[in-house]
Structure formats: structure tokens, C-alpha cells
Symmetry: C2
Subunit: 344 residues, 2 copies
Amino acid sequence: MRATLIYGAGDVRVENVPDPVIEQSTDAVVRVLRACICGSDLWPYRSRAATEHGDRIGHEFLGVVEETGSEVRGLHRGDVVVAPFVWSDNTCDFCSEGLQTSCRHGGMWARNGVDGGQGEAVRVPQAQGTLVRLPVSEDSALLPSLLTLSDVFPTGYHCAVRAGVNARTTVTVIGDGAVGLSAVLSARRLGAERIILMGRHKDRTDLGREFGATDVVAERGEEGVERVRELTGGDGTHAVLECVGLEQAVDTAFGVVRDGGVVGRVGAPQYEKVPMGSREFMRNITLTGGVAPARAYIEELLPDVLDGTIEPGRVFDRTVNLEEVPDGYRAMAARQALKVLITP
Amino acid sequence: MRATLIYGAGDVRVENVPDPVIEQSTDAVVRVLRACICGSDLWPYRSRAATEHGDRIGHEFLGVVEETGSEVRGLHRGDVVVAPFVWSDNTCDFCSEGLQTSCRHGGMWARNGVDGGQGEAVRVPQAQGTLVRLPVSEDSALLPSLLTLSDVFPTGYHCAVRAGVNARTTVTVIGDGAVGLSAVLSARRLGAERIILMGRHKDRTDLGREFGATDVVAERGEEGVERVRELTGGDGTHAVLECVGLEQAVDTAFGVVRDGGVVGRVGAPQYEKVPMGSREFMRNITLTGGVAPARAYIEELLPDVLDGTIEPGRVFDRTVNLEEVPDGYRAMAARQALKVLITP
């Protein structure tokens, strides 16, 4: 089959790879209907050292079950399924607590001999725990929004949940990428009435407003902090959803959070340490969040997607076929596309 | 009157200062019955640059109301009262949320013309909001335990509350000082059944066992982390209560916390940044806590102290009079005393 490999910074190729087959009795093989490129795929795309051999890439996909191992229950050939971006048994103690990203028998796509999502098909380990059946057909118009359940939407949702967003909390979302916009949608879904979106790409922040943002702050750094403080009577907001992952965004988060407030973070950290010294201590600031256990949220979010209450798939603004995936990377890296959908 | 002043590292003196008088209509004057020395007083005691003029010091006291300003309601001459270590109006939005340490009209003792607690008397700003009446006499045997309500016990309690301690959480407490032991007592009160105390002073950890610690780990650093991991099947504990404030203790906290777990911190930070990079992100670790709003917890904790269910005053292992306060500092700094009670 054809699949995407990364050979180094700026070097993504679509090549022939072995067709996936059942290796373990808990595996399934899924033919990919839709996949996409993640903001986190851009970190290696920008910085990975060149290698002779390519590495598989991609961790967001939905598709059709082609085959299941002998131990897999509840999934059948022809089922349309979505895969969260970490595979897991969904039965261990961590999974039971809703932390499938720490599953005792789980792991990441595109590592250690596991397929990546940006290909024609995927061998899915721990298929029964990992895959969620979707009550739609292969040509459903909902596929883009359903695909967001694999990562970007639950990632924004995880951020908002961990930051304690509810009807009584004011919220700042840092970042107008697909995760930031998903965080806006999530905060609104959790009842927040005041949502300040920090971002400077008008087409993105316009979508953010449609998703529920009440204010947009285009300024960055100290200026951006001042602007959010002005909008909140000097106090900042109860919750801050950090959806970028850069040190400056973290600094901004601490600058705009209200005393006693919570900074949730889901931007993959491009830093090792955060400023949580005396000042944040005296203000009782909490820092939480992390890699999102998407699997924990899919059942909760699915009905709203199925009935059209929310349309997280609107973050996709470009579609490519599998052979065009390298163009998709270039477009996202150049910020010509917000998020790229792949139809293999 | 006589009061304690700090002139620099190792230089604490008891001197004559002006008697406190009502300055604002919201003030009260309280004659001090009991005060004490805080672990946080030792930071300036160890490091403050020498000054010509001394600065008042001390922020934990209970006493008797001598006089009240015209706007103070509910407090009368002769009332025995305890003062939390931050004064506050107890009516603003932050106070209403239980964050009296961020009160819009509050402040710290021994700063900006406000008296310190280690003296014969104190002018109490925002007296109605700050002081809590105690239904005991001036010679009650409960005074030491009641005095802990001003800081050390609610500080440990804040740590446990913020870290989400309950009957289902395993807990590690880092530090066998008075705050750490208070955190043990607090975790037990909140229902924790497995409490690992990290500390290497046997007399202190013995008291910790009486307060509810089920395991004691004397090793520090990497070795201590390994030991806690051994005790928890390799996983670490759900909650970690960091009661020291040194960088090494924070590193230990991240080392012994379970995936998805919470590090609560109440040790005054002697660091500016904490290690919350990719590793902690992938493990969904939360860092919370901060300066404790003692005022928020006093009514909740008071009944258990009054009926003897808990005896947080057992952390006091030395008593001095006011003139002997410099000896008290020396003893605490040399770890010859766990916590020093002052009877002015």
C-alpha cells in the first residue's frame, strides 16, 4: 500500500510499504477513509534531522474495518470506526480513570512497527479498546467532523475540562490553530460565556468567533497580556487554554490568568521548564493538562457531532489525496492552510 | 511594647516599638497570647542582607481583642481570636471564592506599617474579616493547636485539598517539617489511607506516623524516588504534597507522582522555574497549590481542634518567651526544634 514517511525536516514522501496484516489476536486492520495532518506533525517537519530511512507519520484517521483478530469483540468487517491518536486497551486502571494515554498496554501510532495514520490502511493494536464505531456510512458528509474526534477536538476539550471551564468561568484561549479553535468550541460547549481568543490570523479568529469566542486579541506578548487584562478589569480570566506549546505562549498564559486560576495546556511543549516561582505561588496558579486521552471523550462528544450541534470539522480548510500529502505539509507549515484533510 | 525585628541573616532582636493603636475604623488591637516561628521566617533568617533598621517579623498569632475600630462588628474587647497569616476583608470576590490571600483590600503582616505577629500586641487591619473568634478562655490548653490555625495547619490542609486528596488517592508528603506533618494530618483527615512521608528526622517522622503516615521514606533524591516507586508498584502516588520549597523537593515530587496525578505545593518556592516539559506533559501531571488562604479553612477545621479529634499543636516542641525569640530562631535554624511556640 501507499503511506506517508518523513525523512527529515521538510522532507515528507509517499511511498510503497507492506500491506498491514493481523499480527496479534487483538489487532484489526482498518482501511483509511479520512486522515489529516496535525499541528504536532509540523514539529518534526520543521526540525527533524535527515535520515536514510523514512519513518512513518500520522496519528489521526477514521476508516472501515477490513479484518479483526480472533480476540476482538464488537467490531466487524465493514464497520466505520474512528481511532484516537493513542491506542489503548481501554480496560487497565489508567484507561478506567480516563487516562488512556498512559494505558499499560497502549502506545503511539507510527512507532515501534505500528503503522502511521497517513496511509491507505493501518494495523490497529488493541483494536477493541482503541476503535470507536461510528453509526454512519462511508460517504457520510459528517466524516470531517467525526475525524476530529481522533485528536484535535478532544485535545481542545481536554484542555477546557482540565482547566475547569464551566458557565461561571471566564476563559482565554491562546492560539488560533485548529487546537485553539477546538478549545474555543469546547469552552462554549462547557458553558463559558466569556471566551477571549488570542490569535492574529483573521480568517481563523473569524471561525473562532463562530465557534463561540466573544473577544479576539490579536496582540502578542506583553501587549497581548495587557489587552486581555484590560478586557477583564485588570484581573485576567479564571481559565487559560494554552494551545501553542511555545515558551512565549506559556508566559502569556501566566500573564493573563486570574489569581487562583488554572492554565490548561495541550500545546506540545517546546520547552523544558515553566515559570512557576514565587509570583505564581503567591497567586495560587495551577498548571494542568497534557497529552489528551482522546479515547476518554469520544462517546461524550459523538452525539453532538452526529446531530450537527457542533461542527469541529470546519477546521479543515484544504483537502488533498494521499499522493498530495507533501503539498499538505508545505501548506500547513507555511500557514496557507489551517488544517489539511487527507482522502487516501 | 516589645516586638521582634530582623536586622539581617542570623540577626533577630527583641526591641521596644510603638504600642499599636487603632488607625482605621476597620482595625482592632489584639494583645498576643501565643505566637510562633514559621519555617518561612527561616528564609530571611538565613539569607537577608544586613540593614541599619530592623524589620518587624512574624505572621502567626492568637490573642485577645483589646480595642476595635468603629466599623468592626462581631468582635468585642476580651474575645479570644486567631489571625490567619494574611489579613483580608473576607467580603471581596476573591475572599468569597476562598482565596483570601488575593483579597482586594488585604495584605501581609509585618509589611507597610503593619505590625508583625512576634510581639506583645498587633494592630489588625480589616479586623472583622481577618479575625476568627475562638470559644475558649485565655488559659485554654488548646491554645497551641488553635494557634496552628493561623498558618501551618491550614497550609498543609490547602496542599492536600488542592491536590485532590480523598479516600481513593494514595499520597506522598515531601518534608517532615511542621508543614509536612500538617499535610499528613490533613491527608488523613480527608480520608487518605496510604500516606508515604518522605523525611529523615526520626523524631519528626515518628510524629508523622502518629498523624497518619503509613510509610516513611528516609532516602532523598533519586534514591527516595525509587523507594516510593517500589512502595507503589512502580507507579508513584496520585497526590504529592510538596512541603519544602527547594528545587530538589520539586524534582522529587515529579519523580514520585503517578501519571495523571497532582503535585500540590505549599513550600515557599526557592526556585523560579519548574520542570514541566514534554515528560510531564505526556504524563498529564498537574502542578497546583500556593500560599494558603488559611482564613478559608479555619471554620472548617476549628471543630476538630476544639473537640480534640486532631491535635496539630503537637508540632510545637519548644516554647520560649518573647525575649528568648532569638534563641527560638537559632534552635529552628539548627533543626534542634521542629517549631517554636512563643508566649509573650
